[in-house]
């Protein structure tokens, strides 16, 4: 017996909002990346829950794709953090405005 779809949506929207607040609240780029992972996983949870609800496996296939893209995103994001740190000797994102026109 699984809970109804409403419970899953409430749970995943709570997780998404926590990740959103983390992205807006924190200024450490590493923690911002971690919060983005929370948001991605909240969306994954809705995919799996709706797939189970409608009895189709496609939701789980999409979740696997999202995981792969998230892995690539984390690799590029972390490499950017390391490269920016080497340039600036700092992790303060307010210092990373040199791409601004």
């Amino acid at each position: 017996v699984t809970p109804g779809i409403g419970s899953w949506i409430v749970l995943s929207s709570a997780l998404f909002c926590i990740g959103l607040v983390g992205v807006m609240l924190r200024r450490n780029p590493l923690v911002i990346l971690l919060s983005i992972e929370i948001m991605l996983n909240a969306v994954n949870l809705t995919f799996v829950a709706f797939g189970r609800h409608w009895g189709t496996v496609d939701g789980q296939v999409i979740v696997t794709f999202v995981m792969t893209v998230a892995a690539a995103e984390a690799a590029v994001g972390l490499a950017l953090v390391v490269a920016l740190f080497r340039h600036r000797e700092s992790l303060n994102p307010d210092g990373f405005t040199s791409l601004k026109w």
Binding site: A14, C17, V21, N44, L45, A72
Partner: protein
Amino acid sequence: MGIVVFYVAGACAIGSAIAVVVQRNPFLAALSLILHLASLAALYLVLQGDFVAVAQLLVYAGAVMIMFLFVIAYLGDRADLDLRRGGIGAGAAAVAGLAIFIESVIAVSGSSDLLKTPAIVSDQFGSPTTIGRLFLTDHLLAFEAISLILLVGAIAGVVLGAGDLLPSGPRTRHGDGPDAQEPGERYDLRREMQRRERDEQEHESEVGA
């Protein structure tokens, strides 16, 4: 059984997600995220997503988080920077998050009866066999495209992360000095090694004096 796991793992997921956001030490934040991902894997099991649950543990809680922990360890205590947005920024963030959450709760509570009863599925739902067959039939193009994306991501990670070890990467040190590389010059590993050795010797003699 499913209900119990839902509440326990759900509370665990929310608690560890909050810990990620409020934790000052990024290393502990990353460890909290591992707990968060593991409790999500338990929730996937409730939803009969066997393959997704295992992939979540192996790929996410394993590989991706190790990458995060390596970078945090590489940056050391310099990763501890904590500049929260204070005042209006923090309040606005909390209000926006809460507003979206309340909105979705209202939307769910007003939903139709269509959402009340889940479909009846077989035991094979979400098994590796089912998912693997879908990968190689209906979603073959996306499956191949995702491998290209991973390749590009890996190359981008190496190029960005290697810095001045690559001929045209972002150069940080050795950028100026008597024998700095010209922009168009061909990269020469032996020359680079000699230059580094000389720099080190100079540094040592400076320290010794």
